[in-house]
Symmetry: C2
Subunit: 295 residues, 2 copies
């Protein structure tokens, strides 16, 4: 980047970059999560108060855009949004779902939390249970964990042979491409927290008896596999960042930044979709007249 | 009621009656909806400002109770809540869902809006699709329309023979009894609006081009069937008010009262359930030590 252009960007002249371009994983490059600061606030407000205020300000526009998206689907528009959330334990997937739902009309949202597969689910290809939970036209789908578990925990815990695992990245990419071709905006977010931040959050749970039910001594064993998980995430982010469905790394040590960033990404995508209320396909005046003159 | 007791109640002495007893349909009596004032505010705050404030005040307790219910389920407690919402077009079922979700953590809620049955659903008994959408232990289920459509529109539109319709009330009662025996609190609310109020709300939709997509000229035809629908509701409320799963009539011309009343009913039921956080089944100190000393 030449000095002139660099100065221009620094002074905020020209067009501000979209957050989705700032947080997007670069295509075709190795991903090294240790170079991503989980406590950073890229492109965001500089402190918590400003972050909360900026997030609150987005609420009305997001609600309006969602209503338009839903309304538009009643006129035959097949477009929809699927937000995929992944991250280590305590990274805030549940908190993000709660935050996102608060922005929208929940009736137009389809939330699904994926746990360890049931026996029935295991008897099907791994994408079977995913396909059943997809949003319908006009909806905002939210996945708390997803098909990526099948290349994350499945890799770390060696739940399937390596050769089968290797094929899954391509299967996922083709699956997601078919979704986008059918009108789904696939927004994939990795909630990135540091090893130290997870320790703090686990200790907080232990300090509060009302939170003990959320704790499992197995969580500590799982921490010993942290490097293997990070490596699996790096591979998944790398192999499954495609032009149609890129991954975004959301620094998530700061909850206010995480919520601001996810809200902003949703706003950017919904704004691009620019859904419109369908025009009335009936005689408005006639209907009004009927209502005003009925017996 | 003797004069002394009556005065005492009026002065607010003694125990305030639970709202669920105030709004509950009396068992074994004929229901005449024309005697229920859709604009009334029984047991509630006397104006909108007070209603909104009282509802906001319940939020924290409701959120806490829901977390306890969910936490308790992780310890094996099978209890859950199912809120069933029925009402005429524009009665505010969707708005109520949005309001209720706002009180809780949406991850612990299971929302389902029932539309006209699909071909697959029609190929099964009418309770089939209902059974598939029920809340799991610890969850709050919310039905926007329900199995009652199968004795409401099905009766008005004569979608099934009368003999089959007649059997459905008993089938519903046995079904709901089995739910309560398995730990489900079934909370059924009829959102009662007046004919005139529906006219006002439909005219509001027509006045705003952004709301035209919500309007269907068929809505007016449907209004001509208002008396038949009211009669079907009366029958359903009468035959399906049982000790285990009574109906409640929620006057819903005023949205603030409707939201206050539903919140209060949920609060009363969750308070009765009194769910508890499960005790830690692991050595808290040992886990803390491990986290503090890990490499």
């Amino acid at each position: 980047m030449g000095k002139a252009k660099s100065d221009k960007v620094k002074r905020g002249e020209g067009r501000a970059p979209l957050l989705r371009d700032v947080l997007r994983v670069p295509e075709g490059e190795r991903v090294d999560l240790s170079t991503y600061d989980a406590g950073a606030t890229p492109g965001g407000p500089h402190d918590k108060a400003a972050g909360l205020a900026a997030t609150a300000l987005m609420g009305e526009r997001l609600g309006d855009l969602q209503e338009r998206l839903w309304a538009s689907s009643t006129g035959g528009d097949r477009r929809r949004v699927l937000l995929v959330l992944q991250g280590m334990d305590t990274s805030g997937k549940g908190g993000t779902v709660k935050h996102v739902i608060g922005l929208f009309n929940p009736s137009g949202c389809r939330i699904r939390a994926f746990k360890a597969p049931t026996r029935e689910e295991l008897n099907h290809p791994f994408l079977w249970r995913i396909a059943k939970a997809l949003p319908e036209p006009g909806e905002i789908g939210i996945f708390d964990r997803s098909h990526y578990e099948d290349v994350l925990i499945a890799r770390v815990r060696e739940l399937v042979p390596r050769s089968q695992l290797g094929r899954r990245y391509g299967q996922i990419n083709r699956f997601e491409q078919s979704l986008t071709e059918d009108g789904t905006t696939v927004l994939k977010c990795f909630l990135h927290i540091s090893y130290e931040q997870q320790r703090r959050r686990l200790l907080q749970r232990l300090a509060n008896p009302d939170k003990h039910w959320k704790f499992n001594p197995g969580d500590i064993t799982e921490r010993s596999l942290w490097p293997a998980y990070q490596e699996s995430y790096e591979l998944a982010l790398e192999r499954c960042t495609t032009p149609h469905a890129p991954w975004h790394v959301i620094p998530s040590n700061r909850k206010w930044y995480r919520n601001w960033a996810i809200s902003t990404l949703l706003l950017e995508h919904l704004t691009s979709l620019d859904p419109q209320y369908p025009k009335a396909d009936f005689d408005v005046e006639e209907s009004r007249h009927q209502l005003l003159t009925e017996g």
